[in-house]
Symmetry: C2
DNA sequence: TTTTAAATTAGAATGATTATAATTTAATAA
DNA sequence: TTATTAAATTATAATCATTCTAATTTAAAA
């Protein structure tokens, strides 16, 4: 487990290496992302959290920073069909997005950290001549625990 | 291969069976969808095509019809991260969405008709207690043919 | 044919995201 | 250290997809 400061340093270096500047606003945004690694925050969510500690930041800056970090593959941009893009840090060594289980009752999103698609990606290459650089796998359904109650899992991972 | 009129009739029946009314606007919209089965059209795309034959239709009606058809599982609503929802008819017997290969160079979307996830869905159930009712699997990458040229595949399936 | 709830229309409203113009700042080099 | 300059930020306006609203029309049931 790498501590926040170290990861932050690494992210800044990658930013500078690609010719982008390191600014306090960007640092504040990255810090928030580091502290909410698996929260699937919307840009607005991130904005509000950053604003707590850096009240003069603008929403557009947060959007631009998230866009930049996505471009650098430091965060992943997700879309669960609710009209807002969501963002999570990409954990180190995970060049691929992880998979999601989306509960159709309570909307809860849970993650599968393993990569289950290595074999299928080879198949795609073989059968379709398509070279996969990333993937997205979401399962929609219900948790057994949801079925029998009032969505006890709701908010569990939030 | 079922002819358009037959499918249309079946769709209308399902609509009525669930207590919804069959209207000329809905029929016109379904007809467009039937004639563009794998085109991944946005609501705006559908609207423009319907308007050609039914100029007095409103955009909101198309939106509502697409929403209704999605609810009835007659169309699938997709999201490729470009800010617009896209819609395709669900082919009969395919209760699951099919998979997509999205070229990161030319943006072309190609489909994989098979269901490669049956085994993984059992695994999700076993390991996470999650009952899958649907899934979404997209591969992002490049077609070998794209890599070497000026995106020859672009528009091939459009 | 009458009734009535549902559907449609046109247009306004909303909400997420992006663009703009003026200002500030980070990084580079003198 | 200071001057320079391109990039970044701010505040706000604009845009675009989608949804809502109120008035009107229509499909289906009686």
């Amino acid at each position: 487990m790498v501590i926040v400061e170290e990861q932050l340093k690494s992210m800044k270096q990658q930013m500078i290496a690609k010719g982008y500047k390191s600014t306090v606003q960007r640092e504040a945004t990255m810090r928030v992302l580091l502290e909410h690694e698996r929260d699937h925050m919307s840009a607005e969510d991130v904005y509000m959290r950053v604003k707590e500690r850096f009240p003069e930041i603008g929403l557009a800056t947060v959007y631009r920073t998230l866009e930049l970090l996505t471009e650098l593959h430091l965060v992943e941009k997700m879309n669960f069909g609710d009209g807002v893009a969501r963002f999570d840090l990409r954990s180190e060594g995970h060049e691929h997005m992880h998979h999601h289980m989306i509960c159709s009752i309570c909307g809860e999103v849970e993650e599968i950290q393993d990569d289950w698609l290595i074999e299928l990606e080879q198949r795609v290459k073989r059968e379709y001549g398509f070279n996969v650089s990333d993937h997205r796998l979401d399962f929609i359904g219900t948790f057994t625990s949801c079925k029998h109650g009032d969505c006890q899992r709701h908010g569990e991972t939030a």
